[in-house]
């Protein structure tokens, strides 16, 4: 769309404000983050909300117009997000659905793939997940052993993936698989876009420390994939994966243009106040406790700082003054800051974080249970250690680590055995 035809941010904001008020259900500003994504109903609800956005002309604000989006700028998206805060939004669909996988398809999909899939994604008809990590290893992503072998035009997929969010209710996945075992590890991979619910795919939930069933493990037993499921080039899947991971860091770090609505993963980055620690202090009547005051303020300082950092890094990556890998900085900040804020809430909640009235959802219980999954943000989307490697080697240019598998045919690389589906399943 030529610039002169683009709607101004203010006009867009006013239109969004009016539309939201008329069409979207209201939600209190200090409501806790949305439920865990383990419940089928959550996804049905979110996809219905997404359909409303689509029908109202507010879906895919930064996605290309050609493929069903609005083709507007990140400023338009930010304005919409600000207006959307008092309303229910399909927040679960932001990550990975739009901001990671949709974004990657924009970058690497063919015209046919984008025309076919992006409108379905933006209408809420599709829900995508990523099949990247494997039981044999997560951080060493390029060492994946799930394989796709050619059979005529088609591919045959075997292996297992893990840590996919809500794969049971999802429709499609981007799946990284090894397609050439004679090439060194990074050069024998291909990215596929596959249907999840088809013969040969078994999806099992994983129960986490906090009881959540949000994550899944999948097993592939001779799953047949059509030729047009390849995203990017055959054996160039690592390039696609790197882009996908950069989108992921950006989404979790708070800089993605494809996240619509409040980004709880990058709390604070959007300027929203984290009210949870303030609410705890008020609920416990410790407003005057000097230690509590210090902790509430410390959490707030982290949020304000994160907002400044995200603005700086987003700007710098946009105008080329910072390396594309600089999103690792925001990712690491978000994760370490989330760890600290979880600790702060645990301290503020005192005994109420570890004991609570049976069967009741309380702020204290939330603080205690959040602490049990404190490391989640530091593990998901590339662990803190991987981010530190990226910052040191790619951003600062420090020497790379020695690696035993560099420039070696992958079939000769020492590795863990490919897991198989549990027997009797």
């Amino acid at each position: 769309m030529p610039d002169q035809a683009m709607e101004s941010v203010e006009s867009f904001r006013l239109r969004a404000r009016a539309w939201l008020a008329e069409h979207m259900p209201r939600r209190p500003l200090d409501a806790p983050p949305p439920d865990r994504a383990e419940d089928e109903q959550t996804w049905i609800d979110d996809r219905a909300l997404q359909r409303k956005l689509w029908d109202g002309g507010f879906a895919g604000i930064c996605f290309p117009e050609e493929y069903g989006g609005l083709g507007l700028t990140i400023e338009h998206q930010h304005a919409f997000t600000e207006e959307s805060l008092p309303y229910e939004m399909p927040l679960h669909l932001n990550v990975p659905n739009f901001s990671i996988l949709g974004a990657t398809l924009v970058d690497y999909g063919t015209h046919e793939q984008k025309s076919k899939y992006l409108p379905l994604l933006l209408q809420g008809k599709h829900q995508w997940v990523q099949f990247l990590s494997e039981p044999t290893g997560g951080s060493d992503l390029a060492g994946c052993v799930t394989r796709a072998d050619r059979d005529g035009d088609e591919w045959v997929l075997r292996g297992s993936k893990i840590w996919s969010t809500a794969a049971m209710s999802a429709t499609h996945a981007m799946c990284l698989a090894r397609t050439d075992w004679d090439a060194p590890k990074h050069r024998g991979l291909t990215m596929f876009l596959m249907e999840i619910h088809q013969p040969g795919v078994q999806v099992d939930p994983i129960k986490q420390v906090n009881g959540s069933l949000e994550f899944c493990q999948e097993f592939f037993d001779d799953v047949r994939l059509p030729p047009d499921s390849v995203v990017g080039d055959v054996n160039d899947g690592w390039t696609v994966a790197l882009t996908l991971l950069a989108h992921e860091r950006n989404a979790v770090g708070g800089g993605s243009p494809y996240v619509s609505g409040r980004n709880y993963l990058a709390e604070g980055a959007d300027g929203a106040r984290d009210l949870s620690s303030i609410a705890l202090v008020r609920a416990r009547g410790i407003d005057d406790d000097p230690v509590a005051r210090q902790l509430v303020a410390e959490a707030h300082v982290l949020d304000v700082t994160q907002r400044g950092l995200v603005q700086r890094v987003t700007l710098g990556m946009g105008n080329g003054k910072l390396a594309g890998q600089a999103a690792a900085i925001t990712k690491l900040f978000t994760a370490t800051s989330a760890e600290r804020k979880t600790e702060i809430r645990l301290t503020l909640a005192g005994t109420e974080a570890v004991t609570w009235p049976a069967g009741v959802e309380t702020l204290g219980r939330e603080a205690g249970e959040s602490f049990l999954e404190r490391q989640a943000t530091s593990l998901a989307g590339g662990s803190n250690e991987i981010q530190r490697n990226i910052i040191a080697e790619r951003v600062l240019g420090m020497p790379r680590e020695w690696a035993a598998d560099r420039d070696v045919p992958f079939r000769d690389v020492r590795r863990n055995a490919m897991p198989t589906a549990p027997s009797g399943a």
Binding site: G308, R312, I329
Partner: protein
């Protein structure tokens, strides 16, 4: 460095850097360590020719910024001064210039501002009071009316650049509130006692006011109502301090990274050890976060954002905690050379340590933030 500088700002930044590198390299900074003023007035005036003291002054008073955003321009100078731990009364003189230009009488503006812009007049900001009154509200000085004059009594400390200042912007308690006065440093009853300082070239003093008579033409801003102006001055001083700090950090991180690449141990460069790489990655994250929050604070002060108090305090708190940690970590990574007088690292450690505590410690800023957050009702909190 702000990543979105326009061409004019970029040029201004380069000019300032070149000037400082040529006229005030670290050897020259060290040479001023025993100088009572800590800076050379001729050098200061040459720097002011580049615009160092005109950016916050209205055009009508002979000042002017590059693009209408003087605070953001001045932050550029402060960052460059941080890179070379420069001397000079940058923050206090600009705080005084800003206050006089914003709220001085026409007579006062024309009497004082041309000299400040030319670098002939140095200003000092007497906001701090004894016993930890760091926030500029002037617990230490009182002023009572006597005819057409006011009589000032009390103590302000620590006051930057007071030793060589010509004009003192004094915050005093008056009957009905807080009032600011521009007091000539040479006025009868003003006594300046130099203090020691952790910094090599920034000079501080205790300023005593003993029945100092000031005409009411020298009131700056509202009688009994200077609170908002004082808050603005505090924010401005903190933002400049933060900008200096990030400039200093940039430089320390640069030369430490070079050192680690050049220095070998157990047959390989120090920079190749993952234990060191991961620590450096954390420092890089802190450094970029320091930049980010400083830019946010500068923008908030530039725009007179209603949230500026908490954003500026967030910057002061975050930098206070992390800037000294970065420089201490860099000292550790240097090994023994890092704790020698001859190596320049301590010049930077001195400056960032000064800044950590001068205008409020991190804990004091957190208390300020808590007061702002916990008196707000959740409904009133910004969405």
């Amino acid at each position: 460095m702000n990543l979105a500088l326009g061409d004019d700002q970029q040029f201004f930044q380069e000019t300032t850097r070149k000037f400082l590198e040529q006229e005030m390299p670290l050897t020259a900074v060290r040479a001023l360590a025993d100088d009572p003023a800590g800076f050379d007035r001729g050098w200061w005036a040459r720097g002011c020719d580049l615009g160092w003291t005109s950016l916050l002054v209205a055009e009508a008073d002979g000042g002017g910024s590059l693009g209408g955003e003087g605070v953001l321009d001045l932050v550029i100078v402060a960052e460059e001064m941080g890179r070379l731990v420069s001397p000079g009364p940058l923050a206090p003189t600009n705080v005084v210039a800003d206050a006089v230009s914003r709220s001085g009488t026409p007579e006062l503006r024309s009497a004082v501002l041309p000299g400040i812009i030319a670098g002939d007049v140095v200003g000092a900001w007497c906001g701090a009071g004894p016993g930890g009154g760091w926030d500029g509200t002037g617990g230490g000085v009182t002023a009572r009316r006597d005819g057409a004059e006011f009589v000032l009594d009390g103590v302000s400390t620590p006051v930057e650049a007071a030793v060589r200042a010509d004009e003192l912007l004094v915050t005093a308690r008056t009957d009905g509130g807080v009032t600011q006065f521009l007091v000539p440093a040479g006025a009868a009853g003003v006594a300046v006692e130099p203090l020691g300082s952790v910094d090599l070239v920034r000079r501080y003093a205790t300023v005593r006011f003993d029945r100092v008579r000031v005409s009411d033409a020298r009131v700056v801003g509202d009688l009994d109502g200077a609170d908002a102006a004082v808050e603005r001055q505090l924010q401005l001083a903190i933002v400049l301090q933060c900008a200096e700090t990030v400039g200093a950090l940039d430089r320390v991180v640069e030369f430490t990274l070079e050192y680690l690449a050049d220095r070998n141990s157990f047959g390989r460069p120090l920079a190749s050890y993952q234990a060191i790489k991961h620590r450096f990655a954390d420092m890089k994250m802190w450094l970029e976060a320091c930049h980010g929050v400083t830019e946010l604070a500068a923008r908030a002060v530039q725009d007179d954002d209603p949230d500026a108090p908490e954003i500026v305090s967030a910057a002061a708190s975050y930098l206070g905690d992390h800037a000294t940690e970065i420089v201490q970590e860099c000292t550790q990574l240097h090994g023994g050379i890092g704790v020698t007088w001859e190596y320049d690292l301590h010049l930077y450690l001195r400056r960032v340590t000064l800044h950590r505590n001068l205008l409020g410690t991190p804990a004091q800023h957190r208390e300020r933030i808590a007061a702002l957050l916990l008196t707000d009702q959740p409904e009133a909190a910004r969405a």
